[in-house]
Structures are given as C-alpha cells and as structure tokens.
C-alpha cells in the first residue's frame, strides 16, 4: 500500500536541509507507529521517497513524500497521528492513498509554484515586480548556469509556465522535473540583470506553494490529487 503525504514547512524548520528532513520523517513515522514497510538486511530502512528536495531557507506549503505500508490505514487517522508528533513548523496537510500504478513522487514531479517576496530590510529602491511583464515579454531569457564542472546556457523562458505579479510579490509556475528543474533564484537573477541590477544572496524570501504533476490530459494537478482518502 502506497501513501502520499503532503506537508508544509514554516518557521524555524526551514533551516533543516533535505537529508535531515528525511531523517526527521523516518523518526516521526516511528513515533506515530505507522506500519511502514522496511527493506531487508542488517540495517533495514523504511520504504520512503521524497518528491523534490527543498533548499535550506525556503518555506513551503506543498512538500510531498511517498511511503509504503504493510497494511491499510485510514488516511485521516494517519494524518492525525503524524500531526500529533510534528515539531513546530511542520504540518501534515494531507495524506492520500495512491493507486497501484502511481508513479513515485520523485518521478512524477513536473512543475512547482513559488511565491517570491523581498526580505525585510532588503527593500531596494525599486517596486518589486516593476518591469516583470516586460522581462517576461522577451523572446528568450538566457541564463548561464554554472556548476562546479561546467557552464551551460539555458533559456529560462521555456521553463516558466505561468507567472503573476502581485502586490506583495511575484508568483511563478516553473519546470521542476528532474530534467529541466529551474530554481526561482535563477529567474530572480535574470530579472535583476534585466533591470541592470544584481541581487544579493539574501534578498528574497521564497515559498514553494505547490508541487505539480501532469495528468493524462497534460494539465498540471497537485501531487496529492493523484490519490484518494480511504
């Protein structure tokens, strides 16, 4: 039996990185006494997989992990049991049972929605969002991605599926698949460069609002829409 758990990260827990979040959930699942399946061997591990790693310092309202259980459990009970043992700053938002043929969380990620705000104390002498429409109206948005080994020229525009300039920040819907993942920071860098500026490392507060997969019709649906309550 496969289940998908959706959770949020807010408050001080945003400083806990991806690997530690995995360890955190392993322990939380034991505390909640959820009948999770284990691998065999001398140090058995839980059958668990996360959708998309979230960087340190990012908030989220749409994180996902899949787990496999050895017996059926009511989704509402599991949600309650987990929420009882969460640390401050993590909340279980939904638990869904997945259909047998469901793709695992990581493989099914197609896109993610982000909301980007200016960090307090980092307000520049510009209205955040100013000129963003023009920036997006360009025929392409070149971005040079540097890794330790190589440099790669990307066109960010292909990976930005939607956006909205709001009063208090910018919403972006971007490619988050393993092949074309775009980080919101890359877009902000390109946007600032377009304005002739250079952002500093801590200028933005980023919240991942949701993680999406694609349904058969090619539409984005949130990852937990694949499952159902039981």
């Amino acid at each position: 039996m496969k289940y998908r758990i959706k959770f949020s990260k807010y408050g001080s827990i945003i400083f806990i990185g991806h690997l530690d979040m995995m360890r955190y959930f392993q322990k939380a699942i034991r505390r909640a006494e959820i009948p999770i399946a284990y691998s065999t061997g001398f140090s058995p591990h839980q059958i668990m997989s996360f959708a998309a790693p979230l960087g340190v310092g990012l908030y989220s309202n749409g994180e996902y992990l899949d787990i496999e259980l050895t017996q059926e459990v009511s989704t509402a009970d599991m949600k309650e049991a987990l929420n009882r043992t969460m640390a401050e700053g993590v909340e279980i938002l939904s638990v869904k049972a997945l259909p047998k043929n469901a793709e695992n969380a990581m493989a099914s990620v197609a896109a993610a929605g982000y909301f980007i705000q200016i960090r307090k104390g980092h307000e520049a002498d510009l209205v955040f969002g100013e000129g963003f429409d023009d920036f997006m109206a360009q025929s392409s948005i070149p971005y040079e991605k540097e890794t330790k080994k190589s440099r790669k020229l990307l066109d960010l525009k292909e990976g930005i599926y939607d956006y909205e300039v709001k009063e208090d920040g910018i919403y972006l819907l971007v490619n988050a698949s393993s092949s074309g993942n775009i980080k919101p920071g890359m877009i902000m860098e390109a946007y600032y460069a377009y304005l002739g500026r250079k952002p500093s490392e801590f200028d933005f507060v980023v919240t991942r609002e949701e993680t999406y997969t694609k349904n058969e019709d090619g539409q984005f649906i949130s990852l937990d829409e694949v499952g159902k309550d039981i």
Binding site: S12, D20, R30, R31, G57, E88
Partner: protein, 622 residues
C-alpha cells in the same frame, strides 16, 4: 511561534544552523512568566557533542519536571557563529526560548573533559557574564559547574560561583528552594552562595583559601568561614531504579554523535583499573532493575522514533542481568526494526553469540582493550585481561567469521619499559598469527585486519596513579616510535595497523587534570589570546598555551612529570568521593609491586564507598 535570536541571514550564512534554532521534538517549552527559576544548562562544546551526553539529558528532564523551573539548553557556538556574535554583539542565548543567558537565574556548565575549559570562558564572554565570580552581582546568572572534572574544580574555581560535586539527581531541589528563599527575603548574592555552600555536595569556591609551601605544593586549604565544611562529600543516587530518567529525550534535527536512545544500565564499575577515574568516582556499582530498563527502553524508543538503542555503562559485561535484558531487547527491537548497538563487551562465547545476532559479522569488528602489552604491565594497572583470555576470545571470534580486530592500549603508564611498549606489537602479532592458524585458507575473507591504537596515559585525581609522574611529550613520542618499530619487525606486520595520538594536547590535559587554582590565570590568558575549542585538534594552539605558562611564571613540569610524595596535599583532597586516600595509596603501592587487586564482586577491598549504604558493597558474593 518562537522568535529566533539569530536573523535568517546569519542562519543561512553559517554551517549547520540547526545547532541554534531549538524547537526539536521533545524539547521543553514553558511560559517564562509562570516559572520562578530559569536554568540554562550548558555543555561547553559544539551542539552535536553536547546533545549526545546522557548526563545532561537526565538533568534537563529532571529540572523540567520541577514545575517552578524551566531548564533550557546552551552549547558553544561553533567558530563561524562565534565570530559573528562577537562582531555584531549578539548575546549568547538558550535554545528553547532564544532568550539571552545573562537573564537566567542559573547557568549550569558541565565539565566532561579538561580540554573544554577555554570554552567555559567563551560561554561566559558571549553571555556577557563577568569571567570572575567575585565580579558578579545579582544581575548575573549564578554559574554552577558539574560533571566529572569538578572532582578537581580548582583550575577553574575562580570562574564559578558554585560547584555541584557528584551525581546530579539529588541536590538541585534543595538548592532551588534555598535560592527562592534568599531572593524573596532580599539576601545578598554572597549570602546565598555561602548558604548554598552548606548544602551537601555543594562547593562555594570563593570562601576557600589555599596557602602554599615554597616548593609550590599546598600547605593548607581551608574555608574562611568556619560554618562551611572542610570536606565536601560527593552526592550520589542510592537507588537507580527509583530516580529521574528521561522518558522523552530531545530528538535533534541533525545527526549528532549519539543519534540513538541511550540506556544507562548501571553506574560505577567493580573492576578498579588503576588508571581509570570513572571507576573510582562512581563507586559503588549500582545496577538498575530489569523492570526499570525494560520500561524505559520501550518508552524512549516510542517517544523519540530513534532507529537505534545503545546500552551505557563502564563495563556492561559485569551487569548481572545482561543476558536476560539483551534477550528482551533483541525481541523488542526486531519488532520495531530498531538496531542494537552494543557497548564494548568482554569478548567471550556469550557476547559473540549476541553480536552475531545484532550486527553484520562481516562488517563489524571485535574490540579488546588490554590497555597494556605485557602481563607485568597489566598487573600494574590492575587490568584483569590476560593474553590467554584475549586469544581465546579472538579464536572464537575468528571461527565465527570475524576478521577485524581493534586493540586499545595506553602508553606512558607508570613503570613502563621498552619491553612493555614492544609487547603491544607482539600481542597484535600473536592475534594475527592465531587468525591464520584458526581459519583455513578457503574460509578466509581476506587478511585479518588488526588495528592497534595507543593513547597517552594521563594521571587523574582520585585514582591510585594520582601520585604518578606523567611522561614528557618527548618520552611519549619515543614510546610511540618504539611500538611502531616493533610492529614493523613482526611477521604479520602487513595485517597490523598502528595508530597513536598527538602528544601535545595530552601534556595540557595532564596539567589541567591535576592543576591547582594558580592554573586559572593561565586558562584566562590563553582564552584572551584566542585559545578555544582546545579539544579539537585543528584549533589547539600548543605554542600559545606554553607562552601563557611562561608568562604566568608556572612550570608545567611541576604539574606533570613531578612525582608526588605520599603525604602531599592535593588540590582535590577537600573532596570526599567515597573512596579513601588510604585505599588509593594502598593501591598505588600494590601497583608498584605489580600486585593485582580482586574486583568488588570477588572480594571487597574496603575502599570506603560502603559508607553510602548501597550497591555492590551490600550484595552477597558467590
């Protein structure tokens, strides 16, 4: 939601921000307005080390069970944050409330090893609490020290208002009640400290004075106020099955050194190895009941979700109910998919059987701690392990499929000769030889891998070796060289790996361990010159320490290489740890005569600890 003491920017800049945010599962939040006493419990080293310490977890849990007390945790900020806090003048804060330590009623600092002494000063400095107790006012937290190093508190005495000597479970309630009364009735800080100094186990150092002989040794040590005790008896838990123990230890977000449930099965040790301080300090041995252990094992696993449990004690093989308890644990842990990590057990048929059930034999290694290479030397240190026992254990293990062996030794023991040092290599070679004799070629899983490690022996207070001279740095290194050369002469040298420790830090540890109050100036000066995190090899500045000794006009040899006379008054003699000086003297003389002393289970040696009226001293001997 809690407001953090550090800004997001700082937290994103530094390494492992999780060290500073608190909020871990099972950490205790209380309403600051509804408690009378705020206690900051500090382990003066980095979070991952401090969080792994069982004693602190016990005290944290106990103090928070007191309704009028809120105990929070404090650790040394790592170097990166230390620098930022100094530059931006951010006061040191406690993890739970994130409030400045300075505003607390108490700052408790546990002293687990001597090399953390400069970190005490770091904690005081960053907290904004004056370094020296005599400069503090009611505006400052009362600074109280605890842990094994307070059995010789003198080198750090000027930095502390009080020391709690002995096991932490017993005296805090009385101390807090006294504190509350003194505050309510408008007593001065000094009056409070003096009253506290009358409580059992509590030492108020500013009311004690030392005079010295011309040669630097102590002439007299006495309380300047006659009502204070001349001798302070350690505090001790009488019944370990009826006392505080955490049911819900804090679960760190990041991986710490002890990332598991730790269950203390007994306290103390029957063995009486003559180099071992813990073996004397925690006398007599007291076991916890099987019911207690079973109950807590399950409760702690449930409350933490840890995937591993480990048993803690100085010598688990001596725990009388071990087979029964391990059976229970194996069963419980199998159900829960929890690993069992075994403390170093004596290698015999029983322990090998247990190990093969809970570990992957191919990956795990056998650990022996003969501590010395020859039988003569082992007799001197009263380590009962004979070569025959080691070889029998190793043979059984090799037959069971093990092929990795770790051997632990000490170098620089009293009366040690080159032959004793070379004995380490010979013993390692014997074990390797035994492997090739025992395991036929076709069954071998590669070579046998023997790792012999030596640490340098440091004489500690309250051991029979407290009178012994310590080696110089050069002598230590010569000895390591002797072992290394001897290993290379062995037939099986390719199967033996030899590791040894740095010698510089051992010298300082030796000084701090048996130091007197004069050393405090050196510690202060070293801190001022940038020494901190001395326990971390990469930060240890030997040269700076040497300069400071010189500048303070103190000879290092006086504290290390000098042989103490039997009637010398030691800085720690005013503490009564249960074991008498007479007993230790007797043991020192027996050591020099290479005589072994039976352990407490075989025959009582009248060490003095029977005064506590509990434990092994009152058990039937078979």
């Amino acid at each position: 939601m809690r407001k953090l003491a550090l800004t997001d920017e700082i937290l994103l800049k530094i390494d492992k921000p999780a060290r500073y945010i608190g909020g871990e599962v099972n950490s205790i939040m209380k309403d600051r307005e509804r408690v009378d006493i705020r206690f900051a419990m500090c382990f003066p080293d980095v979070y991952e080390i401090g969080m792994s310490h069982l004693g602190i977890q016990i005290i944290y849990d106990m103090l928070n069970k007191f309704e009028d007390v809120w105990c929070e945790r404090v650790y040394s900020p790592w170097m990166d944050l230390d620098e930022i806090m100094r530059k931006e003048q951010i006061p040191l804060f406690a993890l739970e409330s994130q409030d400045p330590v300075k505003d607390f009623d108490f700052l408790g600092i546990t002293l687990q090893y001597e090399m953390c002494y400069t970190n005490i000063l770091q904690v005081l400095d960053l907290s904004g609490i004056p370094f020296f107790a005599k400069e503090r006012t009611w505006e400052d937290a009362v600074v109280i020290g605890g842990g094994p190093c307070v059995y010789n508190p003198e080198p750090v005495a000027p930095f502390f208002d009080l020391f709690y000597i002995g096991e932490g479970e017993t005296m805090y309630r009385q101390l807090f009640d006294l504190y509350k009364t003194c505050r309510k009735t408008g007593k001065s800080r000094k009056e409070f400290l003096m009253e506290a100094g009358k409580l059992p186990g509590i030492y108020a150092p500013e009311f004690y004075e030392t005079t010295y002989h011309d040669d630097g040794t102590i002439a007299t040590f006495y309380p300047v106020i006659p009502e204070l005790p001349r001798k302070i008896m350690k505090e001790m838990v009488r019944d370990l099955s009826d006392t505080y123990y955490p049911e819900k230890p804090v679960v760190p977000f990041i991986r710490v050194t002890q990332d598991r449930v730790v269950l203390e099965i007994q306290r103390g040790c029957i063995r009486g190895c003559r180099f071992c301080q813990a073996g004397q300090l925690y006398r007599p041995v007291r076991e916890r009941s099987l019911e207690f252990l079973k109950e807590y094992a399950v409760k702690m696993l449930k409350a933490t979700g840890h995937e591993e449990i480990s048993l803690s004690s100085l010598s688990s093989s001596d725990f009388s109910k071990l087979p029964e308890f391990i059976d229970y644990l194996i069963e419980e842990c199998r159900k829960r998919h929890v690993n069992i990590s075994l403390p170093s057990l004596r290698i015999d048929a029983f322990s090998l059987d247990v190990m093969s059930k809970v570990q992957d034999v191919k990956k795990s290694s056998l650990t022996f701690a003969p501590e010395a290479g020859t039988q003569r030397m082992r007799n001197v240190i009263n380590k009962g392990l004979t070569e025959e026992v080691i070889l029998n254990g190793a043979k059984l293990a090799f037959e069971g499929g093990w092929n990795k062996v770790k051997l632990y030794f000490m170098l620089g023991l009293p009366t040690e000769t080159d032959e004793d040092a070379r004995g380490i290599a010979l013993l390692a070679n014997e074990i390797a030889k035994l492997y090739y004799e025992t395991v036929p070629k076709e069954k071998r899983n590669g070579k046998v891998q023997i790792t012999a490690s030596t640490s340098f022996f440091i004489p500690k207070p309250f051991t029979p070796f407290q009178w012994a001279p310590m080696c110089t740095r050069e002598q230590f290194l010569d000895k390591a060289h002797t072992v290394k050369t001897a290993v290379l002469e062995q037939l099986n040298k390719k199967s033996i790996k030899y590791n040894w420790h740095e010698a510089d830090a051992s010298v300082l540890e030796g000084i701090l361990a048996r130091g007197d109050r004069k050393i405090a100036d050196v510690i202060y000066m070293a801190y001022k010159k940038g020494c901190i995190y001395d326990a971390w090899g990469e930060y240890y500045k030997h040269d700076v320490w040497m300069e400071c000794f010189e500048a303070c006009g103190l000879s290092m040899d006086f504290y290390t290489t000098r042989e103490r006379s039997l009637d010398e008054i030691f800085p720690w003699d005013f503490i009564d740890c249960g074991v008498t000086k007479e007993f230790l003297k007797r043991e020192w003389q027996r050591a020099l005569r290479e005589e072994v002393t039976p352990n407490c289970k075989m025959a009582c040696q009248g060490c003095g600890a029977a005064r506590f009226g509990t434990g092994i001293c009152y058990e039937e001997r078979s």
